[in-house]
């Protein structure tokens, strides 16, 4: 057995069933050895970035490890965006890269890049395997690190000669996941004390709570507390529950942002108080005592002052906090919340929001919904109603354009029986549009692509409109966009199009009913914003609730002409 076969044997012994990747010179022994391991499926994407995002989509949908693979140099550097994305969103990801032979490393050899140096700040850990005897152990350890504690990406770089060297050792069996740390009883007692006295409490949950949805729901109901789910935490609490206030932050709901600004106790579980959530930190929850539960001690007190730090697993903490719940009567608070909830405007007029709402309304609770990055992403996050966790596949921390399509493919391959819908913009879609070939090659039938086409880089345009006096610098795509239906057709992907509110329901129905993966282009008016919005640097209480009037702006009809 050589190192390359030992690699596949180790991956197989850890239950890795699917690897997304792209071959090249320095990883050829691994691809050669792949032919001897039919139990592992390799998915050939059309770009290494697609492989990384597909692995992320897999991991985000299942909570299990995603694996991607690339050759040295340009192959490896093409993984960088995906690794950074996985780092910021705490996604368990294993990246395997080939490298030039050991004796060439450091000589600027053909296709050599110092990928461990490059990825050092954007991986949880990384390795160069310098001895074939170490290879399976290193891979097993990398898998353990990626999955344990706060998950994250780990990269293992394997020089070509190590792939070819003879390996005589054992293949390591997977190790049990370390037990989740339980929060201290003192911290839980102090948190309960605060909740007992709280007249206006809110519970805010993030991506670290995704696997604690049942406990979070029980906790909220036990204490009769409203729940805010961050962009990463959407689905942790059922949207149909009257206690749900929506998403906080820059494009958060009126109810969520007002509740944070008025709360006297804020219980945050598994979230890291990103600046897109807090707005100006000094204006965030100004009256609240903050209880912060997190697995990662470094997150507690990093951004906001914390009155009761609770280090531990989200599910264990939520379960402990729910015990001995004694919620005081809070009729006034609930009345106030209902008033704010009523201020949620649904997009009534034809535009991007209208189109996104029409699509997400047709989703089943089991459906996966991915998004790319931009206005359509925020609209989807605002308008979709998630009842379950791990149905929302999205690039939160890094905000990676081009994420949507490959991630939806990865998520869709993880759950072939489930519809994997992706909402993208015309800009982001073109960053990884070549992954349509992956759909064709593997005859994937459950991926439904919706492009909200406003012919602009819409979010940048919105900021230019609001903060740069409408100087629309380099955001117009309309003259150069492809005919998206022809593009889809080139890859044998059926396409549908809607240009008006009247055409939309029929187009959506045909698109979803198509037995194959299909593309729907919705052509919407050029200028349309996402609101509510908290301008960067402002406090949540300084939110712009509704879209400002546009004096002199062309009407949708005129701009269509």
């Amino acid at each position: 057995m050589n190192g390359a076969r030992a690699l596949w044997a180790t991956l197989a012994s850890h239950g890795i069933s699917t690897v997304f990747g792209y071959p090249g010179g320095a990883i050829m022994p691994v691809y050669d050895a792949l032919t001897f391991y039919p139990e592992v499926r390799h998915v050939l994407t059309r770009h290494e970035q697609g492989a990384a995002h597909a692995a992320e989509g897999w991991a985000k949908a299942t909570g299990e490890l995603g694996v991607c693979m690339a050759t040295s140099g340009p192959g490896a550097t093409n993984l960088v965006t995906g690794l950074a994305d996985a780092m910021l969103d705490s996604v368990p990801l294993l990246a395997i890269t080939g490298n030039v032979a050991s004796h060439l490393m450091g000589t600027d050899a053909f296709q050599e890049a110092d990928i461990t140096g490059i990825t050092l700040p954007i991986t949880k850990h990384n390795y160069v395997v310098r001895d074939v005897a170490e290879l399976p152990r290193v891979v097993a350890e990398a898998i353990r690190i990626a999955r344990s504690g706060r998950p994250g990406p780990v990269l293992v770089d394997i020089p070509k000669d190590i792939q070819l060297a003879a390996y005589h050792g054992e293949i390591p069996a997977p190790q049990a996941r370390p037990e989740a740390p339980a929060p201290s009883s003192e911290a839980i007692a102090r948190a309960r004390e605060l909740l007992r006295g709280a007249r206006k409490p809110v519970l805010m949950v993030g991506g670290g709570s995704l696997d604690a949805a049942a406990e979070i729901t029980a906790l909220a109901r036990a204490w009769d507390m409203p729940v805010i789910t961050t962009l990463m935490g959407l689905g942790t609490f059922p949207a149909s529950d009257p206690l749900w206030l929506g998403m906080p932050g820059m494009h958060g709901s009126v109810a969520a942002n007002r509740a944070i600004s008025e709360a006297d106790v804020l219980l945050g579980i598994g979230l890291r108080f990103d600046d897109r959530v807090t707005g100006r930190v000094s204006g965030f929850a100004p009256q609240a005592a903050i209880i912060h539960v997190d697995l990662d001690a470094a997150e507690i007190g990093k951004i906001v002052r914390t009155h009761v730090p609770v280090r531990g697993d989200a599910a264990l903490a939520a379960r402990a906090l729910a015990q001995e719940a004694q919620p005081p009567p809070r009729a006034e608070w609930h009345a106030q919340l209902r008033d704010w909830q009523a201020r949620t405007e649904t997009p009534a007029h034809w535009g991007a929001g209208y189109a996104v709402k029409a699509v997400v309304e047709r989703l089943h609770p089991d459906d996966l919904l991915s998004s790319d990055v931009g206005q359509h992403q925020m609209l989807a996050a605002q308008l979709a109603r998630f009842e379950k966790p791990r149905r929302w596949i999205n690039s939160g921390g890094l905000g990676t354009m081009g994420f949507g399509l490959p991630a939806a493919i990865g998520a869709g391959m993880a759950e072939p029986g489930v519809r994997s819908v992706v909402i993208a913009g015309d800009g982001g879609f073109q960053m990884t549009a070549q992954e349509l070939a992956t759909l064709k090659m593997y005859d994937i039938r459950n991926v439904k692509i919706c492009i909200i086409n406003n012919s602009y880089l819409g979010m940048v345009r919105q900021w230019q409109e609001l903060f740069h006096e409408k100087r629309y610098s380099e955001v117009w795509l309309g003259d150069s966009n492809p005919d998206f239906l022809k593009l889809a057709d080139a890859y044998d992907v059926p396409g549908y199009r809607a240009r008006t509110a009247e055409e939309l329901p029929g187009a959506i129905a045909a698109w979803l009913a198509d037995p194959k993966s299909a593309l729907l282009e919705v052509v919407v008016p050029h200028e349309h914003g996402v609101f509510p919005m908290v301008p960067a640097g402002a406090a949540l209480s300084e939110m712009i609730e509704t879209e400002p009037a546009r004096p002199g702006a062309p009407t949708p009809e005129a701009s269509e002409a």
Binding site: K124, H125, A297, A298, R311
Partner: protein, 202 residues
């Protein structure tokens, strides 16, 4: 008091796996997160495969706590000792080359003697001294010599050890017998223990 002086220094000892790039990993973390390293010394330890760094970081308590927590997450970090929470000894070594002439030679040597400094090199126009001691002593020595004309100095940066026997220190590297520091399944206890010791947080 200048703003620079108002920022306190914190002395950290960081025990790390002796792996390639570990120094880069540590310094990159400090660099990326904007923590200011004032001095850094690295050397081997009594345990093969474990290196020890003494880092002086300036910043308020919150900055240092955050730096420690971020360091704890690095896979290569075995143990962190925050010396502000323990009794410790620290030393720094400095080489000072000072200009001399026939009129000043005796006076310079007298000052060096007062500081228990050793002469390590004698030239016609310069003497080079070696001094070890805490930061205050070294600074005082350098200031005493400054009027004579300092030609070159090199300070090693501070190094520190906790006072008392190793048995007083919780953690894995000081366990009797073979070190577990390089064991692939190194348990996370010492890191959690450290976290609990940080006041007002856990």
């Amino acid at each position: 008091m200048t703003p620079e002086q108002s920022i306190p220094d914190h002395l950290l000892s960081i025990l790390v796996r002796d792996e390639p790039r570990v120094l880069t990993r540590i310094t990159a973390l400090f660099g990326r997160r904007g923590y200011n390293i004032k001095s850094l010394s690295v050397g081997t330890t009594e345990h093969p495969g474990v290196s020890r760094m003494t880092i002086v970081v300036s910043g308020d308590r919150g900055v240092v706590e955050q730096a420690i927590r971020q360091l704890e997450k690095l896979h290569d970090v075995v143990k962190i000792i925050d010396h502000s929470l323990e009794k410790y000894v620290d030393r720094e070594l400095v080489l000072v080359k000072v200009a001399i002439n026939p009129d000043t030679r005796v006076e310079v040597r007298q000052i060096a003697e007062d500081f228990r400094s050793r002469i390590v090199d004698v030239g016609r126009h310069a003497l080079t001294f070696e001094v070890t001691g805490d930061e205050g002593k070294i600074t005082a020595f350098v200031e005493q010599l400054r009027p004579f004309g300092i030609l070159e100095t090199m300070r090693t940066g501070r190094i520190a050890l906790t006072r008392g026997s190793n048995a007083d220190i919780p953690g894995h590297v000081y366990h009797s017998g073979e070190t577990q520091a390089l064991h692939p399944t190194l348990p996370a206890e010492p890191r959690e223990e450290r976290a609990r010791e940080v006041p007002n947080m856990f």
